[in-house]
Symmetry: C2
Subunit: 271 residues, 2 copies
């Protein structure tokens, strides 16, 4: 945020004078003894379920990598900002219904209430560690409910596979075989359809590149979920830091115009 006014001002006031002002402010702040967060919020635990949005994060397909570059610099312009080229399905991001469904809702059509949901975390990490093609089955959900109770209506069901730990390496995260077919865990179509029909879930999330397992050829989970006017979240991280039940998911997706989804900041609130 700077106009020609700013540029004129920068020309008239060398950077050193701004630094001087800042030094004075730093003294002011140092003397202020910054207080802790308000007590009303002290007991709330906030978990970041979002990967940093970088130009090197693994993408589902080649060519989708984000690019960034300097747009203004403090040295030259008095302030710093970057510009980006992004494809909507990069990094931790939302899949809106219109991603797969003609006439489906865009990301701007998701209501605020749909972005704040009870979070349920199911884990297949142990199985996925030995079988990259592992999927969440209906039996897993039944076993989960026997232990933790019924999944509430309107929930976000989040699948922890442990794959987020591989995201530093595109090769390990995509995990292609010799024929180029990817292998990573995901939801089974049966589990997705059961959760829609029997539990009225609002959202599915996963810590891999896709709701469907990597080797899927026809994306039945995407078609079922988005076809049911629900939305998905991919490339989550740290799902094991949330309790299995009781947390609240906040899906901070930018309302990209006519967006098929897009980069989001996803937080888990508990405590």
């Amino acid at each position: 945020m700077c106009t020609e006014q700013c540029l004129r001002h920068a020309a008239a006031h060398p950077v050193v004078s701004r630094r001087g002002a800042l030094a004075g402010l730093a003294g002011l702040v140092a003397a202020t003894a910054v207080p802790a967060p308000a007590s009303a919020h002290a007991s709330r635990v906030v978990r970041d379920l979002t990967h940093p949005f970088t130009t090197t994060f693994p993408t589902f397909a080649d060519g989708e990598e984000a690019r960034r570059g300097p747009y203004k610099s403090i040295e030259t312009d008095g302030y710093y900002m970057q510009e980006w080229r992004i494809v909507e399905h990069t990094g931790t991001h939302v899949d809106a219904p219109n991603h797969f469904v003609t006439g489906g809702r865009a990301v701007t059509d998701l209501t605020p209430e749909e972005l704040v949901l009870p979070a349920i975390v199911l884990s297949i990490r142990r199985r996925a560690a030995h079988n990259a093609d592992a999927v969440l089955a209906v039996a897993d959900i039944v076993a989960h409910e026997r232990k933790w109770g019924r999944i509430p209506a309107g929930a976000a069901v989040l699948l922890h596979t442990g794959w987020d730990e591989r995201a530093g390496s595109a090769r390990r995260y995509r995990n292609p075989d010799g024929a180029g077919v990817m292998h990573f865990p995901g939801f089974s179509a049966d589990a997705c359809e059961w959760l829609l029909a029997e539990r009225g879930i609002r959202c599915l999330g996963v810590d891999t590149l896709s709701l469907d397992p990597g080797r899927s050829e026809d994306y039945p989970v995407h078609f079922a979920l988005l076809g049911a006017d629900r939305y998905g979240i991919e490339n989550l991280r740290g799902l094991d830091t949330l309790p299995a039940h009781g947390a609240t998911l906040v899906v901070g997706v930018t309302p990209w115009e006519q967006g098929s989804g897009g980069p989001a900041r996803v937080l888990g609130l508990s405590g």
Copy 2:
């Protein structure tokens, strides 16, 4: 999210078969009688404080407008997604300390706890309706506290000016005079410094293009706030839908790599 696998599949399975599958799913969903959100969340009010992120939203300076274009389409590719070119300070967005401060924290350095804050809303709308150069003064904060109680430490202080209602028109939102100097309301430097020093606030937010009033030439609020390692939010909307005290602000800013801030989904939770 689609690979060559998807393209091969799309070639092998005409779109009509997908539509058939969707029609079947639509029947499934229609029969499901989608339940209401979980009761645990039924009493929570979620307010969207974010403008849709569009290519026509007014920018602080020319050339910063977002651009978008089709990247894949359902007709051709079996799925839809867009690509974007964005400058970080566009739409409803965060200003991180490094926007103005060399060596300041990037948006990725903000902690999750800093993104979930007690929200305090102060309004100068009535005054701003008659004076586009109106600013929040320390006396306004004192009067606010007399009515509503002390601003808690670690709060996000949000300034409602009513300017969000002008965002459909760049001319009215920027409101330049004959010399091109913009006129819109904002925080006074004194108010910002007082809130930092006396109330240990964490964040300032405003429903205009800038924390500083439009006619500012040297951005003292930016320098004070970001120089104190705090962050700002600009181009908020709907601040009058939040209570003056008691709501929680969730700042869903994408963690843009080395970002000087960037587009965010900002929600207010109350009730």
